[in-house]
Amino acid sequence: MIKDRKEYQILIVDDNKGDRVLIEAYLEDTIILPKISEAESFFHAKKIIENNPNFFDVVLLDLSLPDLSGEGLIRSIAELLPETPIIILTGYPDVDFSRKSLKLGIADYQLKDELNPLALYKSIIYAIERKKVTNQLISSEKRYKDLFQLSPMPIWVYEKVTLKFLAVNKSAVETYGFNEGEFLSMKITDIRPVEELPALYQAIQNDLSKKGINLSGVFKHQKRNGEVMDVEVYANDIDFNGKSAKIVLINDITFKSKYIQAIETQNKKLKEIAWIQSHIVRAPLSRMMGLIELINVEEESNNLSDDLKQLIQFIRESAIELDEIVRDITIRTEQIKID
């Protein structure tokens, strides 16, 4: 038989020396280089594990040790080595307990009497590969949880029928001031000023006909301290633990809204200034220009001295210059437009 050339770090925890020797012999039958560590008790195993964290590929565990046994033993070892597969080797067939131990995260449950080298080898290889997949699943689940929890923007999930919060992230807790427990006992109606509720119900009604990601709209939300903020709300359908729910992302636009308001006020003032330029400043100016023209066309103007004609001409030019300035200001202010 071809032996496995890979190097395996194997921890055998068994108080029976005879059994340990037998297991080692089985391992050497199928694996060229089994690196075996032995422990006679839980206490001993604990010491070895603590000195070599994340070191073992697999643990072969006897269920009854002098200092710990059964479920307590399984839990304790699994806690010390959460990412390492554990195979139970026991002398006593107990179908109920074997089933239960699998629920505790045990990779396999083998009876010592029925053990042979190949069965043990298969059990180890399967356990290692299965654990890899499980670890990947756990870490991918964690990644997604992190995406939700660590998002810099508030996100929550609420149940469509009851409007109750089902999950909230850290940013939501920080932004709104309610802790997670408080959030989960509240409805989405509880974070709005009363006068905003009709708009919310309307939005929920509109959402029924929408599918996929959509901007639900701009709303007013109220923090725990009573402060009201303007928010953009994006929502999408989600099945959350079997409940029909919405996942919602909140964008605080309070600052943006205030900024726009300030610009609008400023723009209005500018328009007023433009109006004043156009109507008030230009009125007396146009009169001056009209008067100067009349002087120039009256019969008597021919009798004026050349010197006086020159002065009138200067007044005329100055008035026209001022008129051009006023027109320029009006045109510039009229060009200010926000689309």
């Binding site: 109006w275 156009s278 109507h279 009125a283 009169r287 009209g290 009349l294």
Partner: protein, 131 residues
């Protein structure tokens, strides 16, 4: 003699005088009728027997209490037996005012102050209402 009366409405005496003088350059023996307020003018247009059937109105826009816009609105909503043509005369160089004036069918022109003799000549030569 003309078959129409020329009416000038402006809240400033100098403006009334300036427009009057320019008008009089073209109608030598004719003195336009001047009003310092739009309400007074409205009253005469609707009630006075002394005005002719056809009126050509030079109307200022920016007046206190009853503005040129108020005058135009009143004219739009209240039928009169007289035929009224309006030329807006304003110191405003604001484009939005010009646009606003276009919605009144009886407004035939929009002049910026000062109204020059050349402006008046063009109006009189080009507008059939002066015949």
């Amino acid at each position: 003699m003309t078959n129409f009366d020329i009416v000038i409405i402006d809240d400033k005496e100098i403006d009334l005088m300036l427009i009057s003088r320019v008008v009089m350059k073209f109608f030598h023996d004719y003195k336009p009728i001047e009003y310092l307020s739009g309400t007074k003018a409205i009253n005469d247009i609707y009630n006075s027997p002394h005005l002719k059937q056809k009126l050509i109105v030079f109307l200022d826009i920016n007046m206190p209490e009853f503005s040129g816009w108020d005058f135009l609105e009143f004219l739009l909503k209240t039928p009169t037996k007289r035929v009224v043509h309006v030329c807006i005369v304003t110191s405003s160089v604001n484009l939005s005012d010009k646009k606003l004036a276009e919605k009144y069918p009886f407004v035939f022109d929009f002049l910026e102050k000062p109204v020059s003799i050349e402006d008046m000549r063009q109006i009189i030569e080009n507008q059939a209402i002066f015949n």
